[in-house]
Amino acid sequence: MIPATLSYRRASSVDEALGMLAEHGEDAKLLAGGHSLLPLMKLRLAAPEVVVDIGRIEELRYVRTEGDVVAIGAMTRHHDLHTDGVAGREVPLVAHVAGEVGDPQVRHRGTIGGSLAHGDPAADLPAAVLACDATLVARGPDGAREIPAAEFFAGLFTTALGPDEILTEIRVPRAADRGWGFEKFTRRRFDWSIVGVAVLGGSPTQPAVGLVNMGEAPIRATAVERALAAGATPAEAAEHAAEGTSPPDEPHASAGYRRHLATVLTARALERAAGGSPAGL
C-alpha cells in the first residue's frame, strides 16, 4: 500500500514548522512518529498534499520537573517516556501507560503529542492525561496557549487544536505520593484497548478516572467520581462507570460488553490505586 503523492517539508524548530503550516494551511499535516498518520495515508484515508515532518525537533523531546508539574515535550516517544526516571517517579501513571501502548516497535516511534493530537478515543494516553488533570500547551501564529486536558478532546479524531497550531508540551501535576491504576482489556497483550481505565488515586482530592474507548472522545468517568465524593466504596462507585457513555458497538465487542467491562475494570483500577496510595482512597 502506497500513500498518495506528497510534498515533504522538514522542520528543525517549532517556529519553522509553524511557518510551514501557515504557508500551506489545510493542505498540510504534521508528521510526528507517523504511527497513526502513515497507516491512514497508506489506506488513503488521509492524503495530505504537504507533510511537515516535526520528528527532528529536538527542542520538543524532554521530560523535566518544573515546580509542581512534570513538563513533557510533545515529541517524546512512548518508549522514552516509559523508561524515563523522572516520569516514573513523579507521574507514574503516565509513564506506565506509555509502556502499554501497542508493541515495542510502535513505542520506539510514536509520540505522546501525536497520540493526544490525533484524538482517537481508543488511544490509552488521553485517558491518563485526563485523569491527571494535565494541561496541554499549544503554539500557533499568535503565540502559546494552555488548554486543560478536560477541554482538549472534542470528539472523534477532533481536538481543540487549530490547523495552524502545534501541541508542544504536556504539563502533568506531580503525583509521586498518589496511588494509581491502569487496566487495559485486550485480546492479545499488545492490542489496542477494547476498554481501558486509568485512575489517579485520592489525596488531596478524590480519585480521578479516565476511560479509553467508551465514547466518541476520551472521557472522564464523572459518575464514578461523583459517587466516590459522596462516600461510595470503590466497588459501589465502579458500578456507575458506564453512565453517560456511548461506547462503540462492534462485531468483536458490543457496546453492552464494553459497558460491562468498564465497570469491572474501573473497580480493579480503583483497588490498585488504593493499594498504592499510603493516604488511601
Partner: protein, 163 residues
C-alpha cells in the same frame, strides 16, 4: 514529481539515493538497495516482518518514509553476520528450530538482536515481551523464544571468554 535526496547508513555503509517522499523505508531497502531480507507481511504495522533496527532500536519499516531515515543508521538482517560467520541469533534460530516458513524470521532476529544488546540476560518473559510486536503464523513461538535464549547464552559465554 518531487524527489528528495536521502543519505542513510545501511549495515555500516553510506547509501545515497533520490526518492519520492512517499516511498516507504521497507520499499527503499528492498527495491532501491536490493536488500530483500526485510519482508513485507501485513503492510499494516501489525506483523513486524518488516522490522529493522533504526539507530539500534527495532521499528517497522513499512510505517516510516525513507526520507525520515535520512541521516540515520539502519541495520537489516543482511548486516548481522560477519563474513561467513552467522550472528549468535541466527545460529540460535538454526539450533533451536526457530523457523518454519521463515517469513517472520528476519524481523524476529532484528528484534531479538536489539533486545540482547540492551539486556544480555533476559528472562523468558523479557523475550516474549520484546517479541510481542512480531507475529509468526507457523511456529507457535516456543522455538523462537528458545532460539533467542540460546543466543543470549552463547553471547554471554563469548563475552566471558573475551574478559
Amino acid at each position: 514529481m518531487e524527489e528528495r535526496r536521502v543519505n542513510v547508513t545501511v549495515n555500516g555503509e553510506p547509501k545515497v539515493a533520490d526518492v519520492e517522499p512517499r516511498m516507504l523505508l521497507a520499499h527503499f531497502l528492498r527495491e532501491v538497495l536490493g536488500l530483500t531480507g526485510t519482508h513485507i507481511g501485513c503492510d499494516t504495522t501489525n506483523c513486524g516482518a518488516c522490522t529493522v533496527n533504526f539507530d539500534g532500536k527495532p521499528i517497522k519499516s513499512c510505517t516510516m518514509f525513507a526520507v525520515q531515515a535520512d541521516g540515520h543508521e539502519v541495520e537489516t538482517v543482511e548486516g548481522i553476520s560477519r563474513a561467513s560467520e552467522l550472528h549468535a541469533v541466527q545460529e540460535g534460530f538454526k539450533e533451536e528450530h526457530g523457523l518454519q516458513c521463515g517469513f517472520c524470521t528476519s524481523g524476529m532476529m532484528m528484534t531479538a538482536k536489539a533486545l540482547l544488546e540492551e539486556n544480555p540476560n533476559p528472562t523468558e518473559e523479557d523475550v516474549r515481551w520484546a517479541l510481542s510486536g512480531n507475529l509468526c503464523r507457523c511456529t507457535g513461538y516456543q522455538n523462537i523464544v528458545k532460539s533467542v535464549l540460546w543466543a543470549a547464552e552463547k553471547m554471554r559465554s563469548e563475552a566471558a571468554v573475551r574478559r
